[in-house]
């Protein structure tokens, strides 16, 4: 697996490898240095500089700028590279985020219109030990699955640079994740616009397409809106149909 650090942060990559219990070496080469991180079943066990503290060396690599990484699967990690064990990659990523320049953190962040939600913990760990600073916690509690990233940042009360660092850390560490779109309240919109007929049309479309309103993805939403547009056009005409579908699309945007 090969990648460019400008597209994916090293922290994000490390977290993915941990989630999928990978064993192997993550080689990182950046503008100001290079090195390797070894993982055994998704756990950090060593680096290419055995003399240094595991934590310290991983932090150095996490902060490398502009470069490439390459992950190579290994059967097992050679004993000479094993320095210890660190399960809590999230804390390392959060720690690195505190040191990353805000403008660099901003480069990895998605657009500020994106909505964030708390992410479930992947893997089989029984305990998740998170060490957050007060301002990180205060920003985290603003993540509600409804507000855009810009709103979360503003509501947190943090200055912009620090908020960007925290957001970068929370996203890279997988503590929060992006919501790409939201399911619009199709029944409410249809009922408001077309009365009982609107509700009947939506429920019929759900029945026909065998969709569950609470478990829809973008593909299902598109199929639903196409079906609704066709049916509303048949019964009340294309102008109303376009208006209603337009409102539903608007409702799906964050």
């Amino acid at each position: 697996m090969f990648g460019e650090v400008t597209n994916v942060s090293i922290g994000g990559m490390l977290r993915l490898l941990a989630i999928y219990h990978q064993t192997g070496s993550l080689r990182v080469r950046g503008e100001d240095g290079e090195g390797e991180i070894y993982l055994q079943n998704g756990q950090l066990v060593g680096t290419s500089k055995p003399g240094k503290q595991l934590h310290e060396e991983v932090m150095r690599l996490l902060l490398l700028k502009k470069g490439f990484f390459h992950f190579q699967n290994l059967e097992t990690i050679p004993a000479k590279h094993v320095q210890g064990k660190d399960e809590d990659i999230e804390n390392l990523i959060m720690e690195s985020s505190r040191q990353i320049p805000p403008e660099e953190a901003a480069e990895y962040l998605p657009g500020e219109e994106v909505v964030l939600q708390l992410a479930p913990v992947a893997g089989e760990r029984e305990w998740v030990r998170l060490q957050l600073q007060r301002d990180e916690w205060n920003l985290l509690i603003r993540v509600n699955g409804e507000d855009s990233m810009a709103m979360v940042r503003e509501k947190s009360g943090l200055r912009k640079g620090r908020a960007l660092q925290v957001l970068y850390g929370l996203l890279s560490a997988g503590i929060v994740r992006k919501i790409r779109f939201r399911i619009p309240k199709v029944i409410e919109i249809a009922t408001r616009e077309l009365g009982n007929l609107g509700e009947a049309l939506v429920r019929e479309a759900f029945r026909k397409l065998r969709l569950d309103q609470n478990r829809m993805h973008m593909r299902e939403l598109i199929a639903l809106l196409n079906e609704l547009e066709r049916n509303i056009t048949l019964l009340v005409g294309p102008t109303r149909a376009q208006h209603v579908i337009g409102l539903m699309w608007e409702g799906s945007k964050r």
């Binding site: 009982n196 509700e199 009947a200 429920r203 019929e204 048949l234 019964l235």
Partner: protein, 118 residues
């Protein structure tokens, strides 16, 4: 002469009215057909489209009555009876079709209401 004029005018009005009624029912039939497409239920749209045909029969009778074709009083009376029977049958089937369509609509809209969970 004025009497014939009045009669001709009344025929024209009756023909116009019948044709408009027929168009109305045909349109209701088309709407019902669309509902059956959307909700996948029988809305008796074919019945609604065909039922008003009796109105056309009645209209035809009025047209023929104004021509020498029905100058024989016996034939005219028989044709009139047939026309009125067609009109009656048409009215009955239209009523049946509309009633069925209305009940389908009601059930569609009723099923749209989510059931209360106790």
């Amino acid at each position: 002469m004025p009497e014939q004029l009045w009669e001709g005018a009344s025929y024209l009005v009756a023909i116009g009215g019948s044709l408009l009624l027929w168009i109305n029912y045909a349109l209701v039939g088309l709407i019902a057909h669309r509902y059956s497409q959307v909700f996948h239920r029988a809305t008796y749209s074919t019945l609604l489209i065909l039922a008003p045909t009796g109105l056309l029969v009645y209209t035809l009778f009025l047209i023929f009555k104004a021509t020498p074709l029905l100058s024989d009083p016996k034939l005219a009376s028989f044709a009139q009876l047939l026309a009125y029977i067609a009109l009656l049958a048409s009215g009955f089937f239209c009523l049946l079709g509309v009633g069925r369509f209305a009940s389908v609509l009601q059930s569609v809209l009723r099923s749209a209401q989510p059931k209360e969970v106790a």
